[in-house]
């Protein structure tokens, strides 16, 4: 085990990024034209990075599995984007956003990265407005804000319940402009299946054209991963059906360390699971907690009467309701961070007070807000969310409380990166959700959009230059190099093996099974016995999958089952790493709740003296356990304390 060095610049926290930018190497415009960059993914991070790098004059190749860059799953983000603008004059500042993010992440994120994130957050809003993103405004014509979980100021910018869509379309516009200018080349409907390393540096990728099945070799001076999170390891999640870990996982197999894989975010407000055939879960924005009050019946008698449909939720008088978040956390109430809200819902449902047909749901009630603010105001704030809810469950939130339950939403873990967002493979960068860097053990609401765009628009364009300044003498990389041919043939072999194993069960069958194992043993609450059992079950599943998966169709045609099989194979391996990570972290922090480590009133019990580190895992081989490295987290600015929202 080694201690990792994040190469954080010297100097006071607030000056580090300025100092870095003043000191980093630059590439002159003539040389930028000679340098090629591959970007994988076109979500907020990938699209903003590809556009910005194209604007700077580099040659960019951008890859996405969707038919167009505009469909990346950032588009589904609803609530908003944080920025320390202090337009509301309510006491916000860069320092406060930094502080809230570190605290919200339960003190498991790197101070210097988070400070930089808070610092550039304001630039993002300026740029997005200049791009024409239609953020919500006041009648005076200026921008308005809303509150979000884990903060006591109002710093979230939003575009109704479709903020992610509007931000992504802004980035997609910028990207389209560079495509038109010939600086960015788009490769859509491509799955990136491997990284190519030449003389220790990332020099290209192996991709599969999803329409023709062709295995392609693409070369560049450097590669940027922006392939998003791995929530689909749970099968049911709020991610898109195609969201996958494969590009990041192939980087891991080639030597990039994977950090804190067990840190996954279970979002408290999703539409509950309703049947075995279900294919995905739908999120209801956290912004709903601004006005919605969360409750379950306080009396078991009412729980039963509700379930037997003898009474309606509105028949239960206020004194017989348990507004458990307001009860347990009076200071933050319904706006506690996501991990806290999710666990509190699980606690009530496990105790038998859950509602709905399965008993795994709680109410999110707008009756008071509608009375206080009026139907029209609530409609203008949440109209599309209410509509979306009604389409799925055929109930109107204006008439009866929503029913919600936590679901897998975001992954804080990801590829380990240093301050420059470079992985442990030189020349391989990771940005957005696919890296681990800024959210610690729990991400605050409206911070994912902020991080994706910060990385892509304002951080990577500087740090990648510092790397490429040393590459100006490297001629264009040749994709006929032996390393490319070997990697391509390994990919073909892997696909052939999957395709021709003569199995009998579908990919989805195994994926569902994987999801069950992960949700049960490595979900909202974890313990030693469960995790140990999961290791055994996953090992068995991996064997069954390799022998038993059935993939119809041919290799050289559009074959969605083959795509899914590649993804699920990697998810199974990732699942094992998540479990190993959860086992070694014998403390509770953020989204990682180990039942053995809790306070007497059921709150997460952190252990800073033993676990204030980032666990970064190194691939050792297919049947060999991964090796763990540590990056010690040093808190110089913020004093570690037990997180309290009471």
């Amino acid at each position: 085990m080694t201690r990792l060095n994040a190469r954080i610049p010297e100097g006071p926290l607030a000056e580090k990024w300025k100092a870095y930018k003043s000191g980093c190497k630059l590439v002159n415009p003539n040389n930028k034209r000679k340098l090629d960059i591959i970007v994988i993914g076109t979500g907020l991070a990938g699209a903003s990075a590809a556009a910005s790098l194209g604007e700077l004059g580099y040659n960019v190749k951008v890859f996405c599995y969707q038919d167009t860059p505009r469909r990346a799953h950032s588009i589904a983000a609803q609530g908003g984007i944080n920025a320390a603008k202090n337009y509301q004059n309510d006491g916000d500042s860069v320092y406060r956003l930094f502080y809230d993010t570190i605290k919200g992440g339960d003190y498991r994120a790197r101070e210097a990265n988070v400070y930089r994130l808070a610092d550039v957050s304001t630039n993002i809003i300026d740029l997005c407005v200049a791009q024409g993103v239609p953020f919500a405004r006041e009648y005076g014509g200026l921008l308005t804000n809303r509150s979000f979980g884990g903060a006591q100021v109002s710093r979230t910018f939003y575009a109704r319940g479709q903020t992610g869509q509007q931000l992504l379309l802004g980035a997609y516009g910028a990207l389209s402009r560079q495509i038109a200018a010939g600086k960015v080349q788009l490769f859509n409907r491509r799955d990136v299946l491997d990284m190519v390393i030449v003389d220790g540096k990332a020099r290209g990728i192996i991709a599969r054209n999803l329409v023709t099945g062709e295995i392609e070799r693409h070369a560049a001076h450097t590669v940027v991963l922006a392939n998003g999170g791995y929530g689909n390891v749970f099968f049911l999640s709020t991610n898109a059906m195609g969201s996958n870990v494969t590009p990041a996982w192939s980087a891991y197999r080639k030597g990039a360390f994977f950090a804190n894989p067990c840190f996954t975010q279970i979002h408290p407000t999703c539409i509950p699971v309703h049947g075995d055939y279900q294919s995905k879960l739908t999120l209801m924005s956290e912004s709903l907690r601004n006005d919605g009050r969360i409750w379950v019946p306080a009396k078991m008698k009412d729980v039963e009467r509700l379930r037997n449909k003898e009474i309606k939720p509105s028949d239960i008088p206020d004194e017989d309701r348990d507004y458990y978040l307001e009860r347990r956390y009076p200071a933050f109430g319904n706006l506690v961070p996501r991990d806290v809200a999710s666990r509190a819902a699980k606690e009530r449902c496990d105790a038998g007070f859950g509602v709905g047909s399965t008993g795994f749901a709680v109410f999110l009630d707008f009756a008071d807000a509608i009375k206080r603010k009026g139907h029209d105001t609530i409609d203008s704030l949440y109209g599309n969310l209410f509509q979306m809810y009604e389409q799925i469950v055929a109930d109107s939130p204006y008439e009866t409380p929503m029913m919600i339950y936590p679901a897998v939403h975001y992954t804080m873990g990801g590829l380990w990166v240093d301050y420059e967002l470079m992985t442990t493979i030189p020349g391989l960068f990771a940005i957005g959700e696919c890296n681990f860097s800024d959210h610690g053990a729990n991400r605050l609401g409206a911070s994912a959009l902020m991080q994706g765009l910060a990385d892509g628009y304002f951080v990577l364009p500087y740090t990648i230059g510092n790397y490429l300044a040393n590459e100006i003498h490297t001629p264009r990389i040749d994709n006929d190099l032996p390393e490319f041919k070997v990697a391509a043939s390994e990919v073909s072999d892997r696909l052939n093996k999957l395709k021709n194993n003569g199995g009998k069960e579908t990919v989805d069958h195994f994926h569902r099974h994987l999801g069950k194992i992960m949700w049960e043993h490595c979900g909202m609450a974890r313990n030693d016995a469960g995790l140990t059992e999961a290791l055994y079950l996953l090992n068995e599943l991996r064997y069954d999958f390799a022998k038993g998966v059935k993939i119809p169709g041919a290799m050289d045609e559009y074959n969605p089952e083959l795509e899914k099989a590649c993804r699920v194979a990697d998810f199974i391996d990732l699942g094992e790493l998540m479990v190993r990570d959860a086992l070694q972290r014998r403390e509770s922090c953020g989204g990682h709740f180990r039942e053995e480590y809790q306070t007497s009133d059921g709150e997460a019990l952190r252990d800073d003296s033993h676990f204030a580190y980032v666990a970064a895992w190194e691939y050792k081989g297919r049947d060999i356990a991964a090796g763990m490295h540590k990056e010690d987290l040093q808190f110089k600015e913020i004093k570690l304390s037990q997180r309290s929202y009471k």
Partner: protein, 257 residues
């Protein structure tokens, strides 16, 4: 619930396609349309058949990937939803359901129910953006925008680029798609600077790509899952006419000098 499905099957862009019948049984009314198709595909795979290819991704109505023409209507019988938001309770037990891909010259079939909509990307590349680089922009609040303009811009900007407007149009016109983007940007002070150039290049690109022209049947508005209004087409036409007149005038002045 039980259904008889008649689905368009086509191996690739070159081969001819045709409708094929399938039966599905025991479907929950709460399952989504795609969950019903997932169920069919699982059965087809197990029994050695060839699963039906269809485009889908977010399954929550926002990414715009899904594109099924169901019983003669883009995204099926329910107004204001995408295919992925359609649930089987919207059909009657025993119904026969016809499922086809988008039909338009500019959207060639890739396989079964999947079409190539890259033409939309190429229209946006022709100018569907504001030309600013990352960095060097003014403070966000230095550009005040009247709330009603901002709200109208947002309404136009909610287009998900699914192509239902093209699929519903008897001429396969892309006017609602372009009108939405032109309006979104022209309604904002930031976007007005390039407005006339934008509308001209986007319309020119649309013509190149083989989309038809608008004959004001308003089918696009009726079938748009996001309820984008045809007012946006009117706004675009006004913009276009204005831009043409101005450029004609400029040309005459230039020539007379």
């Amino acid at each position: 619930m039980n259904f008889k499905l008649k689905i368009w099957r086509q191996k690739n862009a070159k081969e001819k396609g045709g409708m094929v019948s399938y039966d599905v049984t025991g479907i929950s009314p709460d399952s989504s349309f795609f969950e019903m198709l997932d169920f069919l595909n699982q059965q087809l795979i197990i029994s050695g058949g060839d699963p039906v290819a269809f485009d889908h991704d977010c399954r929550e109505g926002i990414c715009g990937t899904c594109s099924l023409y169901i019983n003669g209507r883009p995204h099926g019988p329910v107004k204001g939803v995408t295919t992925c938001q359609l649930h089987m309770r919207s059909f009657r037990d025993g119904d026969t359901i016809h499922i086809e891909p988008w039909r338009a010259r500019a959207f060639p079939v890739i396989r079964d129910l999947i079409v190539n909509r890259s033409a939309f990307d190429r229209i946006i590349q022709a100018g569907g953006y504001i030309s600013v680089n990352s960095g060097g922009v003014p403070d966000a609040n230095s550009i005040p925008v009247p709330k009603h303009d901002s709200d109208a811009a947002f309404d136009a900007a909610t287009c998900i680029g699914c192509g239902a407007c093209v699929a519903s149009c008897s001429n396969a016109a892309a006017m609602l798609f372009i009108g939405a983007k032109v309006s979104h940007l022209a309604l904002l002070p930031q976007g007005r600077i390039e407005a006339s150039k934008r509308v001209q290049s986007m319309v020119a690109r649309m013509d190149e790509l083989g989309f038809g022209s608008c004959s004001n049947t308003y089918a696009c508005e009726a079938e748009c899952p996001k309820g984008i209004s045809v007012i946006n087409i009117a706004r675009m036409n006004r913009q276009f006419l204005h831009a043409k007149l101005v450029s004609e005038k400029e040309k005459i002045i230039r020539e007379s000098l």
